[in-house]
Symmetry: C2
Subunit: 341 residues, 2 copies
C-alpha cells in the first residue's frame, strides 16, 4: 500500500507531527532529524495524501480554468497556449488545473461548472470573453478569480491583460514608418474591450503623426473576428476606391482573411498593400507572404494569471490588480516600404 506519514515517522523514529513539520517547513526542526526524516521519505517514496491534507486545511489544491468552447476550439492555438502557461506554472506552485468549457451563450439557468458547485477549487481563472450572466453567477459564488484577456464589466477582479493599445501603436507606427499614410483598420465589434483598445492605439498613432483619421478606412462592426470577417471587411474597404496602401487587422485570423481577399483580387502583399496583424498565432507556416504582426506572449498570460491567483488565494485579500503584459513587434514579409506606382 501507499506509505503514509506514519510509516515515515516510524522509520525515522520521530512523531508524525515532526514529519509534517519537515514536509511543510512549518516549524523548526534540527538538522539531524530533518535529514533522517528526508531520508525516510525518499527511501519509502512517500508522497503526502492530497485528500487528507485538503480535508484538514480546507483547501483543494485545485484551480479551475474556464473558457468558452468556441475559444477552446479555435483553430489558432491561442487560448490553448494560455492554458498551457497556466498549467505549467501550476506545476511549480503545486496546484492542479481543472479545465472546463462553458457555452458561448451561457444562460442564467445553466449550471456552473461542477468544480464550482462542489467547491472543489480554490480559485478560478477565466480566459477570454465570457457571457455577462456567467460572470454574475461566478461572482455570487465568492470564489477567488482572475481574468485573462477580458475586462469583466462591473467587477473588479484581478486581470491579466494584453497591452492592446501599445501593440496597436506599434503596429500602426510600423506602417507609418514605412511611409504609409492611407492605413486601414479592420477590427471586431466594439463590445469587446480588446478591439476597442486596438482601435484606440491605431488612432493614437495616426494622430501623433498628424495623419488624419478617416472613418471610411475603419471597419469595426462585426461581432465575429475570424478569417471570414477579415475577408468581408477587406471586400468592403477595397471595393471603394480609396487608395489604401496598408492594413492593420486587429488579429491575425482577420489578417489572413484580408490576405486571401487581396490575393483573390490581384493585389500583391506587400508590394501593393502592406498588411500587419495582431496576436502572432504562428498559424500557417505555409502562409505566403509570412505575416508581420504583434506578438502576444500567450504562455506568459497564463503563467501571470496563475501567479496572481495564487497570491489572491494566499493573501485572502481581493486585490484588484491589473497586469498589462507587453507585446512585441514582429516584422515579417507582409509589410514593406511604401512605393507609389
Amino acid at each position: 500500500m501507499k506509505p503514509t506519514i506514519k510509516d515515515v515517522a516510524k522509520k525515522s523514529g520521530v512523531s508524525i507531527a515532526t514529519v509534517s513539520f519537515v514536509i511543510n517547513n512549518s516549524k523548526p526542526v534540527s538538522v539531524e532529524t530533518r535529514n533522517r526524516v528526508l531520508k525516510a521519505i525518499k527511501s519509502l517514496n512517500f508522497r503526502p495524501s492530497n485528500s487528507a491534507r485538503d480535508l484538514v486545511t480546507g483547501k483543494t489544491g485545485n484551480i479551475g480554468f474556464i473558457l468558452t468552447d468556441d475559444h477552446f476550439l479555435r483553430t489558432e492555438p491561442f487560448y490553448t497556449r494560455i492554458f498551457l502557461g497556466t498549467e505549467f506554472e501550476a506545476r511549480s506552485e503545486g496546484y492542479y488545473i481543472l479545465l472546463t468549457t462553458i457555452k458561448r451563450d451561457f444562460k442564467e439557468t445553466d449550471n456552473l461548472p461542477r468544480f464550482i458547485i462542489d467547491r472543489n477549487v480554490d480559485g478560478v481563472i477565466v480566459a477570454g470573453k465570457v457571457p455577462h450572466c456567467f460572470i454574475e453567477r461566478l461572482s455570487a459564488s465568492n470564489l477567488p478569480a482572475v481574468f485573462i484577456d477580458y475586462i469583466p464589466p462591473k467587477n473588479d477582479y484581478p486581470m491579466v491583460l494584453i497591452d492592446n493599445i501599445q501593440g496597436a501603436l506599434m503596429a500602426t507606427n510600423h506602417l507609418i514608418s514605412l511611409g504609409h499614410t492611407n492605413i486601414a483598420f479592420i477590427g471586431g465589434g466594439t463590445e469587446h474591450p480588446s478591439w476597442v483598445d486596438r482601435l484606440k492605439g491605431y488612432k493614437q498613432a495616426l494622430e501623433s503623426s498628424n495623419i488624419p483619421i478617416k472613418n471610411s478606412l475603419i471597419v469595426a462592426n462585426d461581432k465575429f473576428q475570424g478569417r471570414q470577417n477579415g475577408f468581408n471587411s477587406a471586400k468592403m474597404l477595397f471595393s471603394k476606391k480609396n487608395n489604401i496602401t496598408a492594413v492593420f487587422a486587429a488579429n491575425d485570423a482577420m489578417a489572413i482573411g484580408v490576405l486571401k481577399y487581396l490575393r483573390d483580387n490581384g493585389k500583391r502583399v506587400p508590394q501593393d498593400v502592406s498588411l500587419i496583424g495582431f496576436d502572432d498565432i504562428e498559424a500557417d507556416l505555409m502562409l505566403s507572404p509570412t505575416l508581420s504582426t504583434i506578438r502576444v506572449p500567450k504562455l506568459e498570460l497564463g503563467t501571470e494569471a496563475l501567479k496572481l491567483l495564487v497570491n489572491v488565494i494566499k493573501s485572502k485579500k481581493s486585490l484588484s490588480k491589473k497586469i498589462l503584459v507587453p507585446v512585441e513587434l514582429i516584422i515579417r514579409e507582409s509589410t514593406s516600404i511604401y512605393s507609389p506606382k
Copy 2:
C-alpha cells in the same frame, strides 16, 4: 461555513450514516426518511466534501488526460475535441479531468506528470502517439489507463481507435465509384499505426476493384503529417508524368497542402484532380473547394475512452478491450466524377 453531513443529519433527524446511504444509494432507506434527508440536503445546499470522501474511499475522483504538447497545440482542434468529449462525459460520471501535456521527445529521465507521481488520479487517458519510454514509465506506475488513437507497443491497454481501414476503404471506394483509377495515396510515416492502416484500406479498395496498385502513386515516408508534408508529397507525385486524377490524403492537413500545391500549379480541384482527406477537421470554412473527407467522431473518441476507463477502474479488471469507432464519408466539393479530357 460549508454545511457538512452532520448538519444534514441534524436537520433531518437521522444519523450521518443514513445521510451517507441516501447520498450514495448504498443501503436501503425508507421513502420517508430518504425524502426528509433529500429535502435537508437541498435546503442546506449541501455538497459532500471531496477530500473527506476520497480520504476514506482511497479514490481521488480525478482522471488524468495526457497528450504531447505538439498534439495539443495543433492548429486543427482534433485532440482538443477529443478532450472535450472526455471532459463532457466526465461530468456525468462524476470525475474531474486533469489535463497535462508531455513533451514529444519525453526522455527516460523526465518526470512523469505530477498527478501520477502523487497518485492523484484514479486512472489516465492517453491521447495520440506518445513516446515509448513514456508508456513504459506509465505502465510501471500500474495505473489504469486507456489509449485513444494510438496502439501502444507491447502493452495491452484498453484502446479506443478510429476505424482507419474502413475509413480508407470508404474514401478510396468513393473515388473509384466516381470513375477514378489512377488514385494516389499520401500518408505519414509507417511508424504510426494509423498511417499504416489507412494505406492498407487504400490498397484493399483498389484490389477489390481489380485496380493495380502502383507504388509510384504512393508517398508515405515522412515523419510529419502536416500541410507542408502534403504540399511536398504532391510535388513529388505531380512532377512526374503519371496521370493522377484523384488523391487520397491520409489526413485533412496533408490534403490542404495538396490542395495548395495543385492550385499553385494550375490544376483545378475537382475538375482536374479529385481530392479527399481524412479526419474532417472542419478547418477552414474559407477553403475552396470544400474538402471531401472521412469524418472522425472526435467527441465520441473522448467519451468512449472515459466510459471504458471508468469501467476498468470500477471492475478492477484490466480488460484489454478495443473499441473501434466508426467513421463517415463526407462528400463535399473536392471530389467529382472522372472526366477524361
